[in-house]
Symmetry: C2
Subunit: 388 residues, 2 copies
Amino acid sequence: MTDAFSFAIHARDGAARTGTFVTPHGGVQTPAFMPVGTLATVKSLDPDDLRTAGASMILANAYHLHLRPGDGLIRDLGGLHAFMHWDGPILTDSGGFQVFSLETLRTIGEDGVEFQSHVDGSRRTFTPESVMEIETNLGADVIMQFDHVIPGQSDAARARDASERSLRWLSRCQSALDAIVRRDTEGRSPQALFPIVQGGIHPELRREAARAIRSMGDWVGYGIGGLSVGEAKPDMYGMLEALDPELPADRPRYLMGVGFPEDLIEGVRRGVDLFDCVAPTRMGRNGTAFTSLGRLNIKRAEHRADPAPLDPDCSCTTCRRFSRAYLRHLYISDEILGLRLLSLHNVHFLIDLMARARSHIAAGSFDAWAREALARLATSLAPHAART
Amino acid sequence: MTDAFSFAIHARDGAARTGTFVTPHGGVQTPAFMPVGTLATVKSLDPDDLRTAGASMILANAYHLHLRPGDGLIRDLGGLHAFMHWDGPILTDSGGFQVFSLETLRTIGEDGVEFQSHVDGSRRTFTPESVMEIETNLGADVIMQFDHVIPGQSDAARARDASERSLRWLSRCQSALDAIVRRDTEGRSPQALFPIVQGGIHPELRREAARAIRSMGDWVGYGIGGLSVGEAKPDMYGMLEALDPELPADRPRYLMGVGFPEDLIEGVRRGVDLFDCVAPTRMGRNGTAFTSLGRLNIKRAEHRADPAPLDPDCSCTTCRRFSRAYLRHLYISDEILGLRLLSLHNVHFLIDLMARARSHIAAGSFDAWAREALARLATSLAPHAART
């Protein structure tokens, strides 16, 4: 690790661990959920909302910010931290997931990916080198390698091809980053490049990728990519179990794009330290709230006159202040405040879930707590659940 | 006045006055701008935002809340203060302005107005008596009478007809409110009924209305309605000048639906104490910011890389934290946070303008300040103004 980053594990309980990941912009108590600010804003929320919700590290997206407003502009304005007024740790996703999601708009080659901007239709090319330029312009604390992402149920041949290309691209990312750091030494905050373990749902490919990545360097942390992209849940959990002994025990592990409350608990149980997902804000804007008793659809008529908070077990600023009746009124009336209050609650819910996981890991009671929490969350599967 | 309300004037400067209007939910330093929370939410803002912006008294609308979610529901949930989590003073507009705005959807009679709900098309009737039921259900501190609102350039005959009907309706509002208070004594917070002076742009009608209203009782405060509805600005100012000597000097005067920064200054100069308008939030959502140098359109390309705040002379949480470049990025990218940050700035701007007016009235320097502020604001009329 460079001096600017460190990871100290304070306690373990089975494969679950709790620790502190230190970055140039502060520490992150792990396991942690990182809210996603795709376009340098966690949708509908203010940086102050994020602090109030207990967020420590947040995400932004290289693909989206490159297209709009442009990573060069953000660099000129002092980088992402200054631009979006977030002085805590930030991680940028490389855009791999986004450009590979543009099924019909992109051409993949060994050099990189040519794609069409979803904003203005212009042709663009991402290479490991160009992505490193973008991510250093943005200036996040942790920057993800440019990787080749494939659908969750791809066969072994396709998974191997993408995984091996991702390894070659990792090497190019590393060289490119080294060159940029040598070129621009002035006023730079240190950035840690995280490799991404690919390999689809094939345990042997996952293990191979992890070993190859480790052979390339002593990384500050490790991304686990290509999961939660259409594969079955047991496959995702199986990959985490296959990787647990392969990844260095003393480095943070980031399960990319995951997830829902139950996924977070299952991930922590398998040794994951960091998570991110757009679900809490996207679902909030769609009128759905996470609760300790499962999901709640605020649009339902049954909430019309309900004075209860979204979740009686929640201490967020939405639940401390507003009734389901008021939130439903806002949502039904298309009031912007409703989108924000539900997003705020959902983000707080996942952050708080990880805070609870940390305290149970420290107390050695993680497994019992996880079982109980998962059972309560499972009531969300019943259509009329999530009520007190 | 009832014991629950009082108004003390601390200083005068010409016709301008500064004072404290005390209500059951706290005091209001006047002159003051009241943000409008039509549907029990000041659009895009949180009650905490309003406190941060310095708001003391806010508005909500009887017409809109009667239709959605229903004033009975709000009563059952503890009234507007509890429902929207605002423990400061609230004023409700009676719905007169709204139902008379439904040009083709309403039938006016001496008893009241029959209209079609803009939400579900149902037929509804507002009478002075039904509006008092609605406003007592909502439970605001100040409730406005149900009045007959006419277009700003109506002739004297039409203005007299509407004004005289408004006087008869005031009498019925007063009787209805008295009956409700006698009927429901339990747990009620005192409410003050404000009459509304009508009379179009006809000074003699305005004076007649003011005298008739005063002959009917010693009111806690006085609304001035039917202005800022299409008449010329000098006509509006003329009506305020005609009314200044006719309204009791020791009672707050509320100029309804006004307005823009320059209107507030001109109103204060003519003895007005309270203002409200949807302009700051509506313009914020449309990408326009009030600034001390005139209006600023955040969508303009010239703000693309501008590190300056919206208004260098502003201390709001938007201006203290974010650049025009970031706000433009949010607005161009359809990010909800952009609508909130601009609304927050605009609301703060008008609240702060009134705070400055208060201090200049107290210092005896109101007139010089008003002239200077109006000159700076007038740069907004130039298309390329509002830049530092």
